[in-house]
Structure formats: structure tokens, C-alpha cells
């Protein structure tokens, strides 16, 4: 079976800064694919390219066989209906209740009667464990509940793929575990392909079938969870162990610091 997402030699720059360089990987249908990386590593840019919110400078991005770089507006619109996105802060419309948020894409893209839409909304909210919060506004929800409500909206139209932008950021360990369980559940129950962008190594290990590790806009490592765990590359080891020193060092070197102080 052909992969549902394929990236080939994707490159993206912002001015003189290279955000992504030579990114190539494929995601098989019905798998959990995790894109790991430190902050500023290019994860969010990569996500925006995959959801067609940004266009790559070069390379191919195929979603279910459609090359987004070559596709017209109508094809991009059609490909967007094949995926849902869980945004980092939920991105729920604050003026609508949870139920109205989930109903919004269904109302817009189907001609179903209101009663059927209500039932569908209840089913989606039940899937994410939020059926008793349907009348609440997003501002009345906790961080974890907001993410689950956003997930219910992302799966409202039964997409093939769900993208998750930092699903565990800002959540306590229990809420993180709930989200991780949900990601696994959705794959089992709905046959979804999950693409998770995260820097949380713990939740990555709980869900990942395949992992890509991004470092400064390039792929530093790629493989199954077992392969990543056995990888001896110092950069990969540092990311896995969470050590403060190593190739991922965020502080500048002593030499750079002296040069900076002395304006050399």
C-alpha cells in the first residue's frame, strides 16, 4: 500500500535562514508517526507545510497521492478534508460552545439535518471523553479539556490523518497520558494515521511506530522506536536522555562567549 504522506527533499527558508533542508520521509497508513525535535528545530514549519498553511521552496509534499506544491486551490481544499489538526492551544473558536465548535466543520461540509449533526457531535465528544462539556465555552475548559475538544473537532469529518502540534505542551503528566491514550485509541478505533509533532520524549515513546528526529532543520535520525533507542549518535543519545550538555547545547561555547564579550 502506498504511503499516505510522502515528503521528498523538502526545503524551506525564511530570508537567509534555512528552516528545513532536504527533509524526506514517508508515513504509512494507520500508523503513529512522531516528529521529535528541540525548540527551533523546524518542527512547526514542517507541520505547516504538511497542512498546506505554508509552501515549501522546493521538494515534494504528497498527501494521499496529491502533490501540494503542484495542486490548485480546489485540490488543496479537497486534500484538507482528508486531515484534521489538533493545534497547540486548541484553536477553538472562543465565541462558540464546545458542541458548536465540533459541529462547525460538519455543518459546513455536509447537508445533514441538525438532529443528525447533534448525534455526530455527541459521538465525537464521547470518543474524547467530553460529552458532559458540550455546552461549555472554550474559556471554561482546562488545558487538557481544550485539547480534547479540539481533537473532537479535528475528527468531526472522519479524516484519514490527524496532525497533532505539541499535544502534551502545558499539560500535567496525567492529562498528557490521557492525550497519548486517545491518540492510540483513535488509531485502533478509526484506523487513523496520526502525525505527532512533539519535544516530549516520554509521550513519543508511548505512541510512536516511527520517529523522525529533527535538528536545525535537518533529519538527524529516523526509524522505529527500537532503532532510535539503539542509536549511538551523541545527538540522539542526548535528546533521549535529556542531558544538558552535548551537541544540542543551547548555551554558546566559552570561546564564542569570550569573542562576543570582546567584540572579536
Amino acid at each position: 500500500m502506498s504511503p499516505i504522506i510522502e515528503l521528498r527533499h523538502v526545503r524551506k527558508t525564511f530570508g537567509s535562514q534555512v528552516a528545513l533542508d532536504d527533509i524526506s520521509f514517508s508515513v504509512d497508513r494507520g500508523t503513529n508517526f512522531v516528529i521529535l525535535g528541540a525548540s527551533g528545530g523546524g518542527k512547526s514549519t514542517l507541520l505547516k507545510i504538511m497542512i498546506s498553511a505554508l509552501q515549501a521552496d522546493s521538494g515534494e509534499v504528497r498527501i494521499d497521492g496529491v502533490d501540494l506544491a503542484q495542486a490548485g486551490e480546489a485540490e488543496i481544499e479537497a486534500s484538507r478534508r482528508k486531515f484534521g489538526v489538533l493545534f497547540q492551544d486548541g484553536a477553538l473558536l472562543n465565541s462558540l460552545t464546545v458542541a458548536e465548535n465540533v459541529a462547525l466543520p460538519i455543518r459546513y461540509h455536509t447537508k445533514l439535518p441538525a438532529e443528525t449533526i447533534d448525534i455526530m457531535v455527541k459521538m465525537k465528544l464521547e470518543l474524547v471523553g467530553l460529552r458532559n462539556a458540550e455546552a461549555k465555552l472554550p474559556s471554561q475548559l482546562s488545558g487538557g479539556m481544550r485539547k480534547r475538544a479540539s481533537l473532537a473537532r479535528a475528527i468531526a469529518l472522519d479524516p484519514l490523518i490527524v496532525f497533532y502540534d505539541e499535544p502534551s505542551s502545558g499539560l500535567d503528566p496525567v492529562a498528557t497520558a490521557v492525550i497519548s491514550d486517545l491518540i492510540n485509541d483513535l488509531r485502533t478505533k478509526m484506523g487513523l494515521t496520526n502525525v505527532v509533532i512533539t519535544h516530549d520524549i516520554q509521550s513519543a515513546f508511548e505512541i510512536a511506530d516511527q520517529i523522525v528526529l529533527l535538528h536545525r532543520g535537518r533529519i538527524a535520525a529516523q526509524g522505529t522506536m527500537k532503532e532510535i533507542l539503539q542509536n549511538e549518535d551523541p545527538l540522539v543519545r542526548q535528546f533521549i536522555t535529556g542531558s544538558a550538555t552535548g551537541p544540542l547545547e543551547v548555551r554558546s561555547s566559552d570561546l564564542e562567549y569570550y569573542n562576543d564579550l570582546l567584540n572579536l
Binding site: 498553511a53 484538507r80 486531515f83 492551544d89 484553536a91 473558536l93 462547525l104
Partner: protein, 260 residues
């Protein structure tokens, strides 16, 4: 110096182009969109009309009434010197219907509604709600801008008519201090006014509504850099709307004068 000028010009043309593009897209969504694509104007336009119209009525009424009072205070004593104090009713009526009613209402709506549009939609832009709409294949112009456009296009002329009436009422009240009979004042006001005075003022208000909506929504979609960017764009939106309202007013007046 040259680089700064080039940057300013680039920004100016970028914003001008962006606003023109937004206007074109909005007109599509208002006039053609409902026949070709899914829209939910019935659900969103009426609450917006209430927010723009009903909730602005108090401040528009207060400002217009007070300006009517001030206008008679400022001009009545001069006209009294020449024994022409009865003319004050015509002066207030014509000033309000042709100029002050539409302009003051537009200025109040720039501050009250335009700023709210930029702040509200700008917050949605920062919190990725606008991106979420695009990803759900829901056009943000059709979902967010078009209902606001319709609501302000209906409510600004309505508020302008109320402003005209209340401005004249303020003038009438103040006229009593010059021993003018209120009923005589009303009769004089009506006899001074022509249909073209009324139409030109209300006609202008449609264009003011377009300016306020397009500038404020455009600046909202251009918000970058979190709360600081939102504050900056809200300020720029209010200032640009005010300037453009006055420019449009000037153009309208010049056009009217040429035609007459």
C-alpha cells in the same frame, strides 16, 4: 534615508493592495458567496448588528445631542447680533445631515467597532483560530469578514439617521434659550432641508462603513508578534480608519460640489 523611504512605500503598497484584495473577496462573499458556497449569515449577522447598532446607540446619541447643543451655543449668539437667530435651526439641520451626523457616527464607530474588529479578529489570528478555519476549508473572509461587513453596512446608515435627529433635538433644546419656539424650530429645520441633503449624508455613511470594516479586518489578519503586535495593529487600524473616513468625506464633498 532612502532605504527607510523604500520600506515605507513598500509597506504602504502592501497594505493598500491587501485592503483592495480583502474588499474584492468580501464583495464576492456578500453578493455571490451565498449562492455558490455554504454561508451562515443568518446565524452570525444579527448578533453582530446588535453589537454594532444597539450597543453603539447610546454613545452615538449622546455625542450627537451634545454637538447639536454646542453648535447652537457657538453660533446662536453671532446670529443673534444680526437678528438672524431663527436661521440657527437651518444651520444645525444642514450641518448635521450633510456632514456632522455621518462623520461623528463614523468616528464613534471607528473607535468602538473598528477597534473591536481588529482586536477580536487579531486575537483569533494569534491563537491560530483563523488558521484552523482555513484548515477546515472554511474561508475566513466568508466566515468572519462578510457578516461584519453586512452588519456595519446596515447599522452605520441607521445610526447616522438617529444621529441627525438627535443632533437637531440638541439644537432645538438649546434654541429655547434664545427664545425660539420648539415647534417653530422643527418647522424651520424641515423647510431648510432637502432630500439631497439627507441622501448625501446617508450615502456617505455606506462608504464610511466599508472603510471601517475593511481597514479593521485587514489589520487584524496582519497581526504578528503576539499581544504587542495586536496592540500596534489596533492603533494603526483606528488611525488609518479615521484618516480614510475623512479623506472619503472630502472626496465625497468635492464630488457633490462639482455635481451641483
Amino acid at each position: 534615508m532612502l532605504a527607510r523611504l523604500a520600506r515605507t512605500l513598500t509597506q504602504f503598497f502592501s497594505h493598500a493592495g491587501g485592503m483592495f484584495h480583502l474588499l474584492r473577496r468580501t464583495l464576492y462573499w456578500v453578493f455571490l458567496g451565498p449562492f455558490r458556497e455554504k454561508t451562515e449569515y443568518r446565524r452570525s449577522v444579527f448578533p453582530l448588528m446588535e453589537a454594532i447598532g444597539n450597543k453603539s446607540f447610546g454613545i452615538v446619541a449622546l455625542v450627537s445631542f451634545l454637538i447639536g447643543v454646542i453648535l447652537v451655543l457657538q453660533t446662536g449668539y453671532i446670529l443673534e447680533k444680526y437678528g438672524q437667530v431663527r436661521q440657527v435651526s437651518g444651520l444645525v439641520a444642514v450641518s448635521f445631515t450633510r456632514e456632522l451626523g455621518p462623520l461623528m457616527t463614523a468616528i464613534v464607530l471607528v473607535a468602538r467597532v473598528g477597534a473591536a474588529f481588529t482586536a477580536g479578529l487579531g486575537t483569533m489570528q494569534i491563537s491560530e483560530e483563523v488558521l484552523a478555519l482555513r484548515i477546515m476549508s472554511i474561508n475566513p473572509v466568508g466566515y468572519l469578514v462578510a457578516p461584519r461587513f453586512i452588519a456595519i453596512l446596515v447599522m452605520l446608515p441607521c445610526l447616522t439617521i438617529f444621529a441627525n435627529v438627535l443632533g437637531m433635538a440638541g439644537g432645538c433644546l438649546m434654541g429655547t434659550t434664545y427664545d425660539l419656539d420648539p415647534w417653530g424650530y422643527v418647522d424651520d429645520s424641515i423647510s431648510f432641508l432637502s432630500v439631497s441633503d439627507l441622501l448625501s449624508g446617508v450615502g456617505k455613511s455606506f462608504f464610511f462603513a466599508i472603510v471601517i470594516c475593511i481597514v479593521s479586518c485587514h489589520m487584524a489578519f496582519r497581526v504578528e508578534g503576539g499581544p504587542e503586535g495586536l496592540a500596534r495593529n489596533t492603533m494603526v487600524s483606528v488611525v488609518t480608519s479615521l484618516v480614510l473616513v475623512i479623506v472619503v468625506d472630502g472626496l465625497f464633498t468635492a464630488l457633490q460640489r462639482n455635481l451641483s
